[in-house]
Symmetry: C2
Subunit: 214 residues, 2 copies
Amino acid sequence: MYTVYSVDHSLYCAKLRLVLRHKRLEWRDVPPPGGTGSADYLSLVPTGNLPALVDGTLTLTDSEAIAEYLEEKHPSPAMLPSGLVPRALSRERSRFHDTRLEPALRLTFSNTDPRTRRPDEITAAHAEITKRLAALEILLKAPLSRDQLWLGDCGIIITCEWLDIMVEYGVLPTLDMGPEIIRYRAQMQEFDAVAAELVCYLPHMHDWMDSKHR
Amino acid sequence: MYTVYSVDHSLYCAKLRLVLRHKRLEWRDVPPPGGTGSADYLSLVPTGNLPALVDGTLTLTDSEAIAEYLEEKHPSPAMLPSGLVPRALSRERSRFHDTRLEPALRLTFSNTDPRTRRPDEITAAHAEITKRLAALEILLKAPLSRDQLWLGDCGIIITCEWLDIMVEYGVLPTLDMGPEIIRYRAQMQEFDAVAAELVCYLPHMHDWMDSKHR
């Protein structure tokens, strides 16, 4: 049984749960004591990051470092493909998500409340997201099969849900997701772990958005 | 012989060269045709990222995805430790650098020119860097031996040099690097690959800084 420090609406916690679910591992979610910025939490997790995985005496942070750890410890079902190039493509996809696509989405989070929204920041965020979605459309054409769920998919799945909800609540103008992204998302939702996580996570996303629109 | 798309002053290109040098691989640096934002470069590298590694028909982006690829393709000398936990700690260190420490440094880059510097942004950057250095001081006490150069070290080595130079040029007020960071940096500089890269890279850092102070 793993312990995972997490908060309900955290995107990277949902990303990690896709790995835990797909590998059929048991875990319990625990809120960071005192919140992520608290001295209590920093004494346990010096980076203050969420999620953090506790496995015996090891406390490990960063969703991707945790994912690689779980992949090495529980290699079946594999979430990195076999073969040098497919593995590299899965890792490139993970990193594109964590350092390009999600940071573009993140620009919207401080602008969800319509009372404090800054139109210039929304315009900049929309442009940045559009650029990253265009890159994603091309990256998804790389030769990486979709018959299994890879580590590189987990972040993208969750971030695309956030992009939908940002448009639905009127935070962002309409976004142009290309045909490859649309096909990809439909394929990803056929994995049991993805379907199960979205059933649990989508209500938390809506709760968070509603709290900003009250 | 690998081809690496790079620009002289890029931090992540220097990070990748530490891997290439330590593994004694041959490569040639090529500037992105037309610059990183150009249609020509985007047709080769859809993410527009630097560095990008070209290996036959594979074009791979993101310094860390490339590093893991090179580690799997050329496992000797190893740049990930053996053992589940040390490997996880090296990857946590890589990710802490790429998503926490370097983004804090990055806040200073648009403020290097004293004519356009914004004091409020410098204050915010200094606070963020200070927070990350405090976390690094603790992370470096993790049980990860320093008898070899790990992937997780490569980014931190370069970013610490940038932090020094930002203070030296008066962009940032003095920074407090803890005793563990100071000891760590001295140990890292004993690796041939690190010494060789710094001899090549430091002049490019200074050239770039000088161009902002002319």
